[in-house]
Symmetry: C2
């Protein structure tokens, strides 16, 4: 997939993370669900975008992953035709201690209700 | 101000508060600054909208207060021509323990940098 491998995946440095941007990224039910799923795949877990059976269109789903990546919540990398995702737990925990655990806890509750 | 006193200020019940809606409400620099200022006015503190010297237009500022109220982060009431605001700390702490303290801490850091 030339179009995919040609895409440069930009990630903010840890020092560039902004609290309000991270909150806004987590402040959406679909994105919070993605974060909770990724948390369940830790510590080694990387999950391909295609493994998330979210009830939104593919382009909407891609947009949600992009928001999370640009906020610094997840790290994405391409491997062949798959785009893999993992939480940037160390970075978020370092900059905003307690936030990710709080978000994951509520995200899991939300997943359980779905 | 007839137009103001005619406005019914709707507040969600504690049980209606949604984690992602609260995160999204807090995920904006101006709104986080408002929350940090209100926190400094606690425990008795109510602050009139006009006491917030925010670098945004009056209508934009009103919109930010509305987002916070509709998310359940603040309670608003009109007294004469003034609209008074206070944090709904008990409600947020009950539903999402730890979130408000985290937000206030980062909001104060942000205010200090302004």
């Amino acid at each position: 997939m030339a179009s995919r491998t040609a895409t440069k995946l930009v990630h903010p440095d840890r020092t560039q993370l902004r609290f309000t941007t991270v909150l806004a990224a987590l402040g959406d039910p679909v994105r919070l669900a993605i974060v909770a799923r990724l948390a369940d795949a830790e510590p080694d877990g990387e999950l391909a975008c295609t493994t998330f059976a979210l009830s939104v269109s593919k382009s909407t789903q891609s947009g949600h992953f992009r928001v999370l990546r640009e906020a610094g919540v997840i790290r994405q990398r391409d491997e062949g035709t798959r785009r893999l995702n993992r939480l940037r737990r160390d970075d978020i925990d370092d900059r905003f201690p307690g936030l990710l655990d709080l978000a994951i806890r509520h995200g899991r509750d939300m997943l359980a209700d779905w």
